[in-house]
């Protein structure tokens, strides 16, 4: 396919059987059943396979991710993010459509795909708890076919790269969650593939470790090494900070695909004004003032922030992007209210995400509630 793209999907469809999965769960989850013979009919059912019904986890997904790009996949639980990532990692086989990783098809050329793409999956296992971080990496270097000298050099580089060098010879069991995540990254980078996939890269990390991990992705992997990075995340702030472009998945469909800035403005071009007062009684005069503001040019809506003691302490205004703020400030000055602060805010990715995925029907209402 088009070699200009690191990852390309064309009308990608994935269906999962629903009935046989339930049977398998029954066998697998019973504590007393583990390690014993399960219900024969359920086992035969699992071997025979399911003829349906099926649910569509991915519905005709089309994506083109450029070389060297940091691309985010956002979506609520069950949107199909993990399915998409596992298809790219050759761990799930798709049903229809086409997928290419640097031109290789994960269904037919899994070996070549894995030479081009490695993943950091949070639930990833396979480290020996009794061996040190370095020894674990040496084991995987052997599996990847790296020679002794090459492995030693690459491991030293990666341990420095992830700031793990000081603890490299400690047992893996002594590693914190952040260090374990870094070791996962080292393992994924051992092969030096041009594409790295992250599934929820900072889940479970404390804010400082999460920030350090994000900086590592941007500064070192993307800028220094020029790798193509695909990130699946729930963390919208993280997506806004990291990604050059992103796609929002909802029930298996791509419902938005653009730069974070464009996605933010996909729902609305409006801005928000947050005004905080030294609180005052919310009387008739103040109510009239709010109505005057609502009637002003380029103002879409105004919501008064009033507490339970009927004290008026702020305003949230949704205004058009080219509003003349001088007019609003003049009206505020003439109101006699003592102003503590005035802030303008652009819609966030979270606003757009909530509106696009239908989590919140009204952007303005979401803002109004947030302010109050």
């Amino acid at each position: 396919m088009n070699m200009g793209y690191a990852i390309e999907t064309v009308n990608l469809v994935k269906r999962y059987p629903t009935t046989s999965r339930r049977d398998v769960v029954v066998i697998a989850r019973g504590p007393a059943a583990r390690g014993t013979v399960g219900s024969i009919s359920a086992i035969l059912g699992a071997i025979k396979g399911s003829r349906g019904p099926f649910i569509e986890a991915l519905k005709s997904v089309n994506l083109r991710i450029r070389e060297g790009e940091i691309f985010g996949i956002l979506g609520p639980n069950g949107a199909g993010k993990t399915t998409l990532i596992k298809i790219l990692c050759t761990l799930v086989i798709h049903d229809e459509g086409e997928v290419y990783v640097n031109g290789f098809d994960p269904k037919r050329e899994s070996g070549e795909v894995l030479k081009n793409l490695q993943a950091v999956l949070p639930e990833s296992r396979g480290f020996n708890w009794r061996l040190s971080g370095r020894q674990n990496l040496e084991f995987y270097a052997l599996l990847y076919g790296l020679g002794d000298a090459e492995a030693k050099e690459r491991i030293s580089y990666l341990l420095d790269f992830t700031n793990l060098a000081d603890r490299a010879d400690d047992g893996y069991q002594r590693y914190s969650t952040g260090m374990q995540r870094k070791l996962l990254l080292c393992r994924a980078l051992l092969r030096n593939t041009p594409i790295i996939v992250f599934d929820e890269p900072t889940t479970g990390l404390d804010p400082a470790s999460a920030d350090e991990f994000r900086r590592m992705i941007i500064d070192r992997l993307a800028r220094k090494e020029g790798k193509t990075i695909l990130i699946s995340t729930h963390n919208l702030q993280e997506a806004q900070e990291l990604c050059d472009r992103l796609a929002i998945l909802e029930r298996g469909k791509v419902i938005a695909l653009d730069t974070p800035d464009n996605v933010r403005h996909l729902v609305t071009e409006d801005r928000f004004l947050q005004i905080v007062f030294v609180d005052a009684l919310f009387g008739a005069e103040e109510k009239r003032f709010v109505k005057d503001l609502e009637a002003a040019k380029n103002v879409r809506s105004v919501s008064a922030e009033v507490n339970q003691g009927k004290r008026f302490y702020g305003l949230t205004m949704r205004v058009e992007k080219d509003i003349d703020l001088a007019e609003i400030l003049r009206m505020l000055a003439e109101s006699g209210l003592r102003i503590k602060s005035v802030n303008t805010e652009e819609p966030t990715l979270e606003d757009a995400f909530n509106a696009i995925t239908g989590k919140d029907g009204s952007l303005a209402r979401s803002r109004g509630q947030g302010g109050g």
Binding site: I27, T36, T90, L91, S110, L114, K115
Partner: protein, 258 residues
């Protein structure tokens, strides 16, 4: 205890298989202790202690191979292994090599204790022993990969593995020579045993260690060819079943489930 008993009985198939397994175990060891001296002499020209010693030692050499495959290729770690892109046989062999070497070393004390304290008589042919161990390892790894492939799909012990294990206890000659089945069951019953791969594992090891066989003897060659035939069928079959299970699991999206 009442609660646990009630819970246990709700897993009906599991409960029945456990009870049947216990009965067969008791039955086979009871027979062994009482009646098998003569058939051992007839089949291997040896005594029961030597016969049992080799059987126990072989069990300790072969079982780690089966467990090694199952431990390395399980749903907990399979995704990680597949992501490395490494060839599965290389991964499995690399991981169980130490277990096999350790088992081979631990085989020696069994023989020393058996010969020193229980007067067991070992008459090995070293080349035949190596050949028997190689064929046994191939047979057991084939079986283990079949079992693992089914387990990846069903997330449970599969009925095929269970049936093979039960039949092994009764028919494979672990605790008594298979020809004794003709006496305790019905004439010709031992023929069933030769269709079980485990019978060949125990038999070849015993032939190699108890009878000092000549590898130029046509009857010995035939014995080893019989075992090799099972290995030649089971090893590729195990590989195919394993990958069938993996690919089905990939299509159903259940690879990492357990």
């Amino acid at each position: 205890m009442k609660r646990d008993f009630s819970s246990w009985t709700t897993y009906r198939t599991a409960a029945i298989t456990q009870v049947v397994g216990i009965l067969i175990g008791v039955f086979s060891w009871g027979i062994s202790a009482a009646y098998v001296q003569r058939p051992v002499q007839e089949m291997y020209g040896s005594d029961y202690v030597s016969f049992l010693l080799v059987g126990v030692a072989v069990s300790n050499l072969v079982m780690p191979l089966v467990l090694g495959v199952q431990n390395q290729l399980n749903p907990w770690t399979l995704e990680t292994i597949l992501m490395t892109g490494v060839s599965t046989p290389i991964f499995v062999l690399g991981n169980i090599m130490w277990t096999y070497v350790f088992s081979a070393l631990s085989f020696i004390p069994y023989l020393l204790i058996g010969t020193s304290f229980f007067h067991a008589t070992i008459r090995p042919n070293l080349v035949a022993v190596i050949l028997a161990f190689t064929i046994s390892a191939a047979i057991m790894m084939g079986l283990a990969m079949i079992s693992t492939g089914l387990k990846i799909l069903t997330k449970s012990t599969d009925p095929i593995t269970w049936a093979v294990n039960v039949l092994q206890s009764l028919f494979a000659g672990v605790a008594f020579p298979v020809i004794y089945l003709n006496t305790i069951l019905f004439p010709g019953a031992s023929i069933i045993s030769w269709f079980l791969p485990q019978t060949w594992v125990y038999h070849l090891c015993r032939v190699a260690m108890l009878t000092n066989p000549s590898l130029t003897d046509p009857s010995v060659i035939l014995e080893f060819l019989g075992g090799a035939l099972f290995a030649a069928v089971l090893l590729p079959l195990g590989h195919r079943v394993f990958w069938w299970g993996v690919n089905r699991s990939k299509r159903e999206g259940t690879l990492g489930w357990y």
